[in-house]
Symmetry: C3
Subunit: 223 residues, 3 copies
């Protein structure tokens, strides 16, 4: 039943859109890091598929969907090709990319939570894996690019919180047996809008309470 | 039979203690790296659960215990909350934290080795996975924080050796069929005491034999 | 049938050779990074076995071969020991090491592709996992050493392309049902020779098209 929230073709199309925009963000970072064309393709694949692969390994969905659906594998290559040839134009529409990335975040935190629950995990673990699905690819992207994951940094607009809200909304819907296409769609839109607002108003999460000045401790590479 | 070395509740309580102290070390590094509250929580979770998740994926214990036992998942969040509010006090008792971390090292190298053996791995592989259980979370912590894993650095007190000794003690006990609560407890205490001695006397492992001066090769980030 | 491309003992001997040379490259980087003897051993193990472990987790070959075949586990320790005592000599024969590394690349991209196909993956995914088998260990090595993976950098001689050619050759042979010891051996040699030529003539892959000057964007750690 959970499988039929959306028709399979709609669900698949949404997945492809999310994978595409995540791949764009990976490819753009690769260009900024001066990687070659294969580095761009690898970073696009890892960013787009990393979170879902991690979730599938955790829940025992082997082989992961990324290796059984050719569309999932080829979409990041298409994104890498676009960025390779058109990256100055892609960077110029960075705002548009960010909006799509927010959409991907919303889609993946919801679909990841639902898939984990369908494989028998508890509600809390399902929400955690939904969050991991949404943000895992970006963390892998930053680790491969040898940067501190932007997910963890205080000087970036909120990224985890919208995904957490989306995932928790889904598990609450499951708990109270009201999960359907409308409520899960609402969860997607909630996470999406929260992320847009966080970018618009530069919402940030607090650092450790009563933190003393950190300037002496910070290496240039962290900033 | 191996399952009943300790009563389940004792084993579970020991696991929670180990997870808690590993989470503290992850959260403290996150504060030093200037991460926000979500970065602190993520680094606490990864440090505490990463080694066990890696072992469970390798031996096919899917989903990993970290996703089936709510206590395993919530304990690092508690540790992250404590560090968030009280980190100057936690840093002041760094010695105490290190002692608990040594206890976690001893517990996890032994319980990781036993679990891998119960899942059918050979003695050598079981010891290797016991070591990975004990040190894997710390390696992931350092990779996410964009630092050279302290496990690998020569300028840190011995960390792997106590865990190796504990894991090897366990496989020897299995080999000679004398594994019980007393011998495995001895293995835990041996690893624990070795780590305390390594910290007390700054024991270090040798670097490559006949190494020429390395100053020119070293980047500041390594030192 | 695919299993019998080579006799098992020949296949096993080739695997051990590939693991040994990959471990040498990991151990040499560990010495350059000033790691201690355990860091050298860990980096040798990760470099040699990481790609295969990743492939085995993806295809559900649990526990991975690295944990069921003692020879796979002990070979990197032997390589680490050699580098520990003889590293100035090993560095002097860097050209020889590079030739063996190219041989490992050829062997692993072919054997990884075949193993993934035997576990039921599609042709494209099998080729992707063959590539991951060949290059995954090196990526993990560089991540643990806190460096940008040399696989992704534009200023390194082609590494991925030879492995891609080898893996694609294998899936074409499977597709047209001509895979046997001779054709797969040809794929190994093709990848091997391409890598040697790439090193000899410093072939490099292009960076993003129409890239503006990157000097201002590059941090010292990238170069």
């Amino acid at each position: 039943m959970l499988n039929e929230l959306f028709t399979p073709s709609v669900q698949h199309a949404l997945d492809i859109v999310g994978i595409f925009v995540f791949a764009i963000s990976g490819a753009l970072l690769a260009v900024r890091k001066n990687f070659d064309v294969f580095g761009i393709a690898v970073l696009a694949e890892v960013t787009a598929l990393g979170g879902g692969i991690f979730r599938d390994v955790m829940i025992g969905a082997i082989p992961p969907a990324a290796f059984t659906d050719l569309g999932y594998f080829l979409t990041p290559l298409l994104a890498a090709g676009l960025v390779f040839f058109l990256h100055p134009h892609v960077e110029r529409i960075q705002v548009g990319v960010n909006v799509f990335d927010a959409a991907g975040l919303g889609l993946f935190c919801v679909s990841g939570t639902i898939k984990a629950y369908e494989y028998g995990l508890g509600l809390t673990s399902s929400a955690a894996l939904g969050l991991a699905t949404a943000v895992g690819g970006g963390v892998l992207r930053d680790v491969l690019a040898n940067e501190v994951p932007s997910l963890l940094r205080w000087d970036r607009d909120l990224y985890a919180v919208p995904a957490i809200v989306g995932a928790v909304t889904v598990v609450l819907c499951i708990r109270f047996e009201v999960l359907n296409a409308y409520t899960s769609g609402t969860a997607v839109v909630t996470a999406f809008v929260l992320r847009l607002l966080a970018m618009r108003f530069h919402w940030r999460a607090p650092r450790a309470y009563n933190r003393r000045s950190a300037t002496a401790e910070e290496s240039p590479s962290v900033i």
